[in-house]
């Protein structure tokens, strides 16, 4: 079971990564041209999203009762839209619009070894650590 889970995660990462490259998501200028809707707009990312969401939506509905190599689906069931979610999404969007990088394409781009993406990802890790500090303060306060 564990070997199958590991093999499937590697295969899934390969497909996911090739998809990100083919779709142009690993070119920040293209992502920024999508986000700049009032400028010289490039709508391609709508098609990326359409293709990915379309395939996943169909496959999600066709899923079996149990995963092939796990006991249960670890799928979030919460439905409450709270301030934490909205604030986090808003902050993430600003970082995305500044750089043209979201986490997936940035991890793929790490393979190119460029200094810019190394700095970006190092700071992503630092930002994630900051969230833990923020939570610790909230919980202790």
């Amino acid at each position: 079971m564990k070997a199958l889970r590991n093999a499937s995660a590697a295969a899934a990462g390969l497909a996911f990564g090739v998809g990100l490259i083919l779709s142009g998501m690993t070119r920040p200028s293209k992502v920024l041209a999508f986000l700049d809707v009032f400028g010289d707009w490039d709508p391609s990312l709508l098609f990326v999203m359409g293709g990915a969401v379309g395939v996943y939506a169909i496959g999600y509905r066709l899923r079996r009762e149990k995963p092939i190599a796990a006991d249960t689906y670890a799928v979030p069931s919460a439905s409450k839209v709270d301030a934490r979610l909205l604030l986090g999404a808003a902050v993430f969007g600003v970082g995305w619009g500044l750089s043209g990088y979201c986490p997936g394409p940035a991890v793929v781009s790490l393979g190119s070894g460029s200094l810019g993406v190394i700095v970006f990802l190092a700071c992503v890790l630092a930002g994630m650590a900051l969230t833990r500090l923020f939570d610790a303060r909230l919980n202790s306060g």
Binding site: Y56, V91, S99
Partner: protein
């Protein structure tokens, strides 16, 4: 500027969806890259191997692609300070908001999760606002 590439975008998007589906069907897991990074490091989840394999496959695809097809992986903005700030915001925001473009934008939207639909609307909106503001301020992509 950025040319619209709807066909490769749609095909690449479908491949992203397939990779994410493989992880759902076999492992019962959501292919959310920020949560995969977070689960690997902050705090380390019990089963780290599959997360490391998925992320490692993304880096490997990026390394091969940048070697075979220079240009498949583009550079972001030249300022390392700006990239560092963007990384901090992306790391902090995705952990606070429990996901990014993949976990919320693809998997969550396809599952019609209320939280993911809300998060996606918000990060696309602040991404558009930020990218637009930077163009108006004359910060080149």
């Amino acid at each position: 500027m950025s040319e619209s590439t709807p066909l490769s975008a749609l095909f690449g998007g479908a491949l992203i969806g397939l990779g994410a589906l493989l992880l759902l069907w076999v492992n019962g897991r959501i292919a959310g890259v920020s949560n995969l990074i977070g689960g690997l490091l902050f705090p380390a989840a019990a089963d780290r191997a599959w997360r490391a394999l998925f992320l490692g496959a993304l880096v490997a695809v990026g390394a091969v692609a940048s070697w075979l097809f220079p240009g498949a992986i583009g550079a972001s903005r030249p300022s390392l300070v700006l990239l560092g700030v963007a990384g901090l915001l992306v790391g902090f925001g995705t952990r606070l908001g429990s996901g990014c473009t993949s976990g919320h934008g693809v998997c969550g939207v396809a599952r019609l999760s209320r939280r993911s639909l809300a998060a996606t609307a918000v990060f696309v909106a602040t991404g558009i606002a930020t990218a637009t503001a930077l163009r108006l301020l004359g910060v080149g992509a």
